[in-house]
């Protein structure tokens, strides 16, 4: 069995970059109960405290990390990950994406969209099951972020 995903990007302005990143949620469980100073060069304090309140904090951390990585790929440039914040919600309309003034100033003519392919079938009881990396099961315990960078006219 194979898993196929299709997404579209309709825009009247030029898309100058697209980045995608996908990570296994379980890799972020190790930081769910860490002291607040973990990975200070990756997550902001706001992101960490926000994720802490989610029913599964690792999902929020994973989504934020994937978004930052996807943005790096879309920009074709390294930047400080704390200059980009992502606040995950199960409701896609409630996800929030911020970039700092410093980062915006580096790329003044760009705007961004973020799409999260979230593990809608993930339940707490399925966490820790390392035997899901089949093609069909892979998506279940992963978060995938797609970032498009558009040229603003």
């Amino acid at each position: 069995m194979t898993t196929s995903l299709t997404w579209t990007c309709n825009s009247c302005v030029p898309c100058v970059g697209c980045g995608i990143d996908s990570e296994h949620i379980d890799r972020f469980v190790q930081w769910e109960n860490s002291k607040p100073d973990f990975l200070p060069f990756v997550f902001t304090k706001s992101e960490k405290s926000y994720c802490k309140k989610l029913s599964i904090p690792a999902v929020g951390l994973c989504a934020a990390f994937c978004t930052k990585e996807a943005l790096r790929k879309a920009l074709h440039n390294p930047y400080n990950f704390t200059d980009c914040e992502f606040f995950y919600s199960d409701d896609p309309k409630k996800c929030r994406f911020n970039i700092s003034e410093d980062l915006a100033a580096l790329f003044p003519d760009l705007s961004y969209t973020v799409k999260i392919l979230s593990p809608v079938v993930l339940h707490k009881k399925s966490r820790g099951n390392g035997n899901v990396d089949t093609k069909a099961g892979w998506i279940k315990n992963h978060v995938t972020a797609i970032v498009h960078a558009f040229e603003t006219l």
Partner: protein
């Protein structure tokens, strides 16, 4: 700039080997300086950041990810040996790593 003596050098090399052995479900004995992290160990950027977090805490480092990213664009860390060298440079030079003539 921090001084790197032989003990720190050995400690960092041991830390890197132990980290990848643990993360990649292998043994230190199976790793060499020429082991390719992506092709042989299926490593990725998150793994490198996790290692950086361990090093940051152990040596009280402050380094910006942008700085590290710029350095990696000039000098990619593909093997265990590359990561050991990179880690030593991070500990020794911190954010000045980007100004080094590689």
């Amino acid at each position: 700039m921090a001084e790197i003596d032989q003990k720190i050098n050995d400690d960092i090399k041991g830390l890197v080997y132990e980290f990848f052995a643990d993360e990649c479900d292998t043994t230190i004995a199976k790793l060499t300086d020429s082991t390719n992290i992506i092709e042989e160990l299926e490593g990725d950027s998150l793994m490198l950041l996790s290692l950086l977090e361990i090093v940051r805490k152990k040596y009280s480092l402050k380094i910006e990810l942008k700085t590290l990213g710029k350095h990696l664009m000039k000098k990619p860390a593909k093997t265990i040996g590359d990561v050991v060298t990179l880690t030593l440079k991070i500990v020794k030079h911190g954010d000045n790593i980007v100004n080094l003539d590689m």
